[in-house]
Symmetry: C2
Subunit: 266 residues, 2 copies
C-alpha cells in the first residue's frame, strides 16, 4: 500500500515508521516539513577515515550532520530510535565503482565494521525559500530535484576523489540575491549556491537531462542556480572505486528529528 503526500504523517518519527512499513518508496521533498533531511553514506572502516577527511575538505557538498560509531545503526544525535538500514525509502549499493543494486533495505548488505555518515540536504532550506516567496520548481511540479555531475573537481582525500554534483533550482532574475541570502543562512545544508547562471561553464550540457532526479521547467527570465549536492559521494564512488559504498537513492533521503531552523546561522 502506497500513501500520498497528503496521507503521510507530519512528524519525522511517524514518517520513518511509514517508510519502514514500505508505504513510501519515492523521493522525499516536502515530507515532514520543518525537519532536516539527510544524505546517507556508509563505508567500511578502512575507507571511513578518508571519507571523514573528504567531508572536512569539501564541506559544501558534504556537510556532516552525524557520524555513527563503526557498526552502529541508530543515529542517536539526529534521530534516536531510527535504524538507518530500514528507514529510508530506497538505497543504492556501489561495489568497486559500479552501481550494482537498488534495494529497499540494507540488512543483507550490512556488516559490523561499517561506518555511517549523515550529510545535510538542500531540501532543508527549501522551506525557508518558500516562506521567502521563492519558487521551488521541483516541489511545484511534484518531481525529484534535478542533479548534475559538473566539471568542478572536489578536493581529494586519501583514496577518494571525483566531481562535484549539484542540484538546480531556477529563480527569477530579480530574486537571485534573495535566494543567495536565504540559503546562505544554512551552511550546514550546502549553504549558498556554488554557481549562478551558465550551466556550460561548469560542464553541464543540457539542463533538460539531469544525471539524477527529474528535469524541471525553466521559465523565461529565470536564472539557473546550482547548489552543492550530497550525491557527490556517489559520483566519488563511481570514480574512486571503494570496495563498498551504501547510499540513499538520490532524492530518497533520511528524515531526521532536527528542526530546519536549528541548522541556520543567525
Amino acid at each position: 500500500m502506497t500513501l500520498t503526500v497528503a496521507e503521510m504523517p507530519l512528524t519525522p518519527r511517524e514518517v520513518r515508521a511509514q517508510i519502514r512499513l514500505g508505504r513510501w518508496r519515492r523521493p522525499t521533498p516536502a515530507l515532514a516539513p520543518g525537519f532536516a533531511q539527510a544524505n546517507l553514506v556508509v563505508l567500511p572502516r578502512e575507507q571511513a577515515f578518508d571519507f571523514l577527511l573528504f567531508c572536512q575538505r569539501n564541506p559544501k557538498p558534504c556537510p556532516l550532520l552525524e557520524v555513527l560509531e563503526p557498526g552502529q545503526t541508530e543515529p542517536v544525535q539526529t534521530a534516536p530510535g531510527a535504524d538507518i538500514r530500514l528507514d529510508l525509502p530506497l538505497y543504492r549499493v556501489y561495489r568497486n565503482g559500479r552501481l550494482v543494486a537498488e534495494v529497499e533495505r540494507l540488512e543483507e548488505h550490512w556488516s559490523d565494521g561499517l561506518v555511517t555518515f549523515l550529510l545535510g540536504c538542500s531540501f532543508t532550506f527549501e522551506g525557508a525559500m518558500r516562506r521567502a516567496g521563492l519558487p521551488v520548481r521541483h516541489v511545484e511540479e511534484g518531481k525529484n530535484v534535478p542533479m548534475y555531475r559538473t566539471s568542478i573537481s572536489t578536493r581529494p582525500a586519501g583514496t577518494l576523489h571525483g566531481p562535484l554534483v549539484v542540484t538546480m533550482r531556477p529563480i527569477p532574475a530579480s530574486q537571485v540575491s534573495r535566494a543567495v541570502q536565504v540559503t546562505g543562512r544554512f551552511p550546514a545544508v550546502h549553504g549558498a549556491p556554488v554557481h549562478v547562471g551558465d550551466p556550460h561553464a561548469i560542464g553541464i550540457r543540457d539542463l533538460g537531462s539531469p544525471d539524477w532526479g527529474d528535469p524541471v521547467t525553466v521559465r523565461p527570465g529565470e536564472v539557473p542556480l546550482f547548489w552543492a549536492c550530497g550525491v557527490t559521494p556517489q559520483a566519488v564512488a563511481l570514480e574512486s572505486r571503494p570496495p563498498l559504498m551504501l547510499t540513499h537513492a538520490p532524492g530518497h533521503m533520511f528524515i531526521t528529528d532536527v528542526p530546519d531552523e536549528e541548522l541556520a546561522v543567525m
Copy 2:
C-alpha cells in the same frame, strides 16, 4: 637570540622563519596580526579516525582548519611551505596519558604514520574584539591567555573522551553582548562564548589559578566570558591515554597564512 614583539616581522611566512631559527619560544598572541593561528594535534593513524570524529562531534573546542594526509608535514592549504615539526615555538609530547616532554622541534618524535590536525584558535577573533573596542586583557598585560579545565564533558568519539577546556577574557558588563556578537561571527575559531559569568558553575574553582597560561586581572564591573579552547585535545590525551599525541604548548600556536576575516561569517 630572542626577538621582542616589536622586532618580529608582520607576515606569517616571516614569523614562521624566525620561529624556525629559534628566535621566538614564547606564546604567540598578537604575532602576525590579521592572520589565523592554529592549535596542533598529531596522532598515529590508528587514533586519527577517532579524533576526526571527535572534532566533528565537538566543533566548538575543535574547529578543523586543515587535516594533513598521513605522514605529511606541510599544511598545503593553510600555510604552503611550512613544516609543522619546526615552525611552532614550543611543543608538548604526551605518551599513554602523560605529558612526558616539552620540546622545541618535533623531528625526533616524528614517524611516517602520523596524522596532523590544525584547529582554529581564539587568538583569531581577538583582532576583531580590539577593533570593536573590547578589552583583551592578556594582550594588554603581555601575558598568555588563561585556560581552565571545566566540569563540562565533551562528546566522546571511539576511544577519546575528556573535559572541555576554556579560555577566559573579562569583559565589562555593558559590553558582554557586543563580545558575544563579535566572536559569534567566527564559528571556525571557537565562535561565541560557551559560558558567561559564574566560574563555579562550570567547575572552575579559582580564576587566579588557570590550568594553563597566565592569570589576568578581572576588574570590578567585569564579567568573565569563557570560550571553548583548542587545548581540549590535550585534556583528552590526559584522560583517554592514546599511545602518542604531539601538540603545541598551550598559547604557542602555529601561525597560518589564512586571513582572520576569511574565517568570519557575514
